[in-house]
């Protein structure tokens, strides 16, 4: 018999990583140059969580799936056009600031408060999903903080797979060092699962799903509550992008082994 689940996915939006990203420091702290004009995507880690959630909800008929996202309303609308054809969900938008630098505690407080107030949510059946990290800032604490504020003590991070058993318990595979997984069994809901990449491929675009989702997404966006996030004294000393090393050289008459040796030397020298 299928379990009836209430799955809430917390998913932020980030600039499309294929864009040219340039850190700048403004009057309100660090950010990205022209971030509002860069196209946004659902945070890749959180996107994995959404697809896993949709898959789980589909396998357990009667389950409900909410997508809670905090960001500028216009950007959320844009991102929905690339996501809403992939999975059925109910969007809960929160109109807030852009960027990966707001205080995680403030963000968690707003998200937890929103989730707690979701009409029809049965917290005993709650699975709180999200990314275990964020593409904008890898603090990886927001989901955990939300769980704590909601009083959920069973928390898992770096999740690649879960199996929901008939008795309602969950077998969870979390990433650990050395490319291995730690296998845990959780008695059941409620639980927090911070997803790594998962094992599912990105779902295909299904126009009917998109059309159905849009009937609720656009009204939800119009009614999105506005959230102001407090800095809580948070101060950034510096922000920088990971350094990109590129060397292009055309070689010929080298064997694969010789190229491999050269690559190893190059990597070692960096």
């Amino acid at each position: 018999m299928a379990n009836l689940l209430h799955i809430v996915v917390c998913a932020g939006i980030v600039p499309d990583p294929l864009q040219t990203l340039e850190p700048v420091t403004g009057p309100t702290g660090p950010g990205l140059k022209n971030e509002m004009v860069l196209p946004a995507v659902l945070d890749p880690w959180a996107a994995s969580a959404l697809y896993e959630a949709a898959n789980l909800a589909a396998k357990n008929p009667g389950s409900k799936l909410w997508l809670v996202s905090l960001g500028p309303k216009a950007k959320l609308q844009q991102v929905m056009m690339t996501v809403a054809q992939k999975a059925c969900f109910e969007l809960v938008p929160i109109d807030g600031p852009i960027g990966g630098f707001p205080d995680a505690h403030s963000t968690a407080a707003v998200l937890a408060e929103t989730i707690a107030a979701l009409p029809g949510l049965d917290r005993a059946k709650l699975l709180l999903f999200g990314g275990w990290e964020s593409a904008t800032r890898g603090a990886g604490v927001t989901l955990q903080l939300i769980g704590e504020r909601l009083g959920i003590t069973d928390q898992f991070q770096g999740v690649d797979q879960i199996e929901l058993r008939e008795d309602g318990s969950l077998e969870v595979l979390e990433r650990v060092e050395g490319g291995k997984h730690q296998v845990s069994v959780c008695a059941g809901t409620p639980a927090v699962l911070g997803w790594a990449t998962g094992n599912l491929a990105e779902p295909r675009n299904n126009p009917q799903i998109g059309m159905a989702n849009m009937r609720t997404i656009m009204p939800a966006l119009q009614k999105a509550k506005v959230a102001k996030l407090d800095a809580n004294g948070l101060r950034y000393v510096s922000a920088s992008l990971p350094k990109q090393q590129r060397t292009t050289r055309v070689v010929k008459d080298l064997t694969p082994d010789e190229i491999a040796v050269e690559l190893v030397e190059w990597i070692g020298a960096e």
Binding site: D16, L18, Q19, T20, N34, V37, L38, P39, A74, Q77, Q78, M81, T82, Q85, A201, E202, R204, N205, N206, P207, Q208, G210, M211, M214, M218, P219, Q222, R246, T248, V250, K252
Partner: protein
């Protein structure tokens, strides 16, 4: 005569169907104009019964637009436009609200001399160059550039707008979607129109979960049929829907798609302290080859779009646009401003330059065509965005008129509303003036410039005549017993020695200096895909570039498809036939008209189908 393209391996499958009111293919300036006009009218009175959906009674019109690119901001064009139609739609337009937009403040037209000595110039041009060099500064020559004392009125865009089409599309799209009337779905290619006889009944989306050949694979999902009372086709000059309509319905008598150009550009961040003012616009001709026109548009925040147009009438099969662009930006007149800059983005697109000669049937039962694919680009003024936007607004007004009159979208009704508006408009007047303006170029650059001046200065009353062959016949074969042939042999040796593409080697043999790669502004073409172009294709879609007859490809000496491929997505395979990698394709469509082979005397040997992915740059 028609040709059977290589059949897709996708079997006949049962497809899901969705009913909407308007199904739209492609989101660009033309579709922006159409949807803006529609939503503006709806916003005035959302309760207007004319806007009630027939597909979903009780709801507003169901308007769905499908765009191939992964985001609506992935448009490719830094443009300068007079912007009159755009300003009509947005009377309060403030360019500062659109990132990278600025009003045109100064304009120059320059003839560029060849500082390298490798450009293939005719004797006439060489004589003109010698005269200009001899008189030097007296003639106004500076940095190997001769500036025309004035900008011809037909080229003048003063007071217009410098735009990034990616940013403009994003700005327009956000406003459209915020209305709630329109849904624009990126990452969703449309494979073909749904035809019943000559009536268009909607759009078929591309299959997903297929192999390169189109055969079903894991996660196969047949493309959905989206049925609509009106199908709006704005998928550009190489769009699959427009091509299919041309194929099935034919073109009006005497019309053909025969003139093309590849526009390729860089977005460069200028060095600190640059003296180039936002709103500066330069047009150039004469370099790197006489046939190649160039441009430089300065955006706010020290960004500049700089690029070239490589036309089909260049004839020479070595059309390596990327390398030519690198030589172009190193011309002394440009390099003095660009040399310490940083490449931020790169992109390319095909331009349909046939103008009215390439105009398809603008409307028919259940469909209307707008934008560049409908032949709206004005080849005399070098302007397409504003014209495209205008055709969209004309269709929008026509559709509103028909909705309010309760009339169906038949061929007759669309002709008396949409086509009639277009024929009476400045778009049509401009198109007629420009109709034969470029004829002279088939006979060379000098003749072409004379013909363009004649048409431009007489409002199209005078022009030169020309016979323009199909694009595949405009690719001049290599002549093995000529001087060029000797160069080709030498180039083959260089290519084999260096392992580089033949056409690149040929440019070196012809005397073009090697590019001094600096890893910042001058980068290899493959690096440009990663640093600037950001080309990507998600798995699960079929190859959209298909070689119809591999035997013809193997026998082809020129293989212009490889030379012209913007993303080096077409390379030489071991069998001697070209190989296509969709993950590197920028979707410029240049291969479609740069193939010098034809299996039937009408079509080229390359088919360009619907495909997903492509550029991911919002700055283009």
């Amino acid at each position: 005569m028609s040709v059977e393209a290589t059949p897709s391996e996708a079997p006949e499958v049962e497809r899901q169907t969705m009913e909407v009111d308007f199904a739209c293919a492609g989101f660009g300036p033309a579709m922006g104009g159409f949807l803006t006009t529609l939503t503006n009218a709806w916003n005035e009175n959302p309760a207007d019964p004319a806007f009630e959906s027939k597909a979903t009674p009780g709801m507003p019109l169901q308007v769905l637009c499908y765009e191939r690119a992964d985001d609506i901001s992935s448009g490719v064009s830094g443009v300068v436009t007079r912007g009159q139609a755009i300003r009509t739609s947005f009377p309060e337009l403030n360019p500062a609200e659109i990132p990278m937009a600025v009003e045109v403040r100064s304009e120059r037209v320059m003839y560029l001399l060849d500082p390298v000595g490798a450009s293939r110039r005719s004797l006439t041009l060489r004589a003109a160059d010698a005269a200009l060099r001899a008189f030097g500064r007296l003639a106004g020559v500076k940095d190997y550039a001769f500036e025309l004392p004035w900008t011809p009125a037909f080229l003048n865009k003063h007071g217009g707008l410098v735009l990034s089409i990616g940013q403009f599309n994003q700005w327009v799209g956000s406003q459209l979607m915020a209305t709630g009337l329109v849904q624009i779905w990126p990452g969703t290619p449309v494979s073909e129109p749904l035809l019943s006889g000559r009536r268009v009944e909607g759009l078929r989306l591309s299959d997903q979960g297929v192999e390169k050949s189109g055969a079903p694979a894991d996660g196969f999902m047949a493309g959905m049929d989206v049925r609509a009372q009106l199908t709006v086709v704005g998928d550009g000059p190489v769009g699959a829907v427009g091509q299919a309509l041309d194929e099935k319905l034919g073109l009006p008598e005497g019309h053909a798609h025969r003139e093309w150009a590849l526009g390729m550009k860089f977005v460069i961040e200028l060095p600190e302290g640059s003296t180039l003012e936002p709103g500066t616009v330069w047009h150039s001709f004469g370099y790197p080859e006489p046939e190649i026109f160039g441009f430089l548009y300065v955006h706010p925040e020290r960004l500049v779009s700089v690029g070239i147009f490589v036309p089909s009438w260049m004839h020479d099969p070595s059309r390596t646009a990327y390398r030519y662009l690198q030589h172009y930006i190193q011309h002394p007149a440009l390099w003095k401003y660009l040399k310490d800059g940083t490449l931020r983005s790169w992109g390319a697109k095909s331009l349909e330059e046939s103008g009215r000669h390439g105009e398809p049937f603008l409307s028919g039962d259940g469909f209307a065509r707008i934008g560049e694919g409908s032949g709206s680009t004005n080849m005399l003024t070098g302007s397409g965005v504003d014209e495209a936007w205008a055709t969209g607004t004309q269709l929008g007004e026509a559709v509103i008129e028909l909705l309010r009159a309760g009339k169906p979208f038949t061929k007759e009704n669309l002709a008396t509303t949409y086509e009639a508006r277009r024929r009476k408009s400045w778009v049509e007047r401009g198109a007629r003036e420009a109709e034969n303006a470029r004829n002279g170029f088939q006979g060379g650059v000098v003749k072409g410039m004379i013909g363009m001046a004649l048409a431009g200065l007489t409002g199209g009353k005078l022009s030169l005549g020309a016979h323009i062959p199909p694009p595949h016949k405009q690719v001049r074969p290599f002549a093995p017993r000529s001087f060029d042939g000797l160069m080709l042999k030498e180039a083959v040796a260089v290519a084999l020695e260096d392992g580089r593409p033949l056409h690149d080697a040929l440019l070196s043999v012809r005397g073009w200096p090697e590019i001094p790669f600096d890893g910042r502004l001058l980068v290899t073409q493959q690096d440009a895909l990663l640093l600037g172009g950001k080309v990507q294709a998600i798995p699960g879609f079929a190859d959209h570039v298909v070689f119809r007859d591999a035997g013809l490809c193997i026998a082809c000496e020129e293989k212009t498809c490889i030379a012209m491929c913007s993303g080096q997505a077409i390379t030489l395979g071991e069998s001697g036939a070209p190989v296509f990698e969709r993950e590197r394709c920028a979707h410029c469509g240049a291969c479609l008209w740069n193939c010098g082979q034809s299996p039937d005397g009408v079509h080229s040997n390359i088919e360009f189908r619907a495909g997903a992915g492509g550029l991911h740059s919002a700055e283009n």
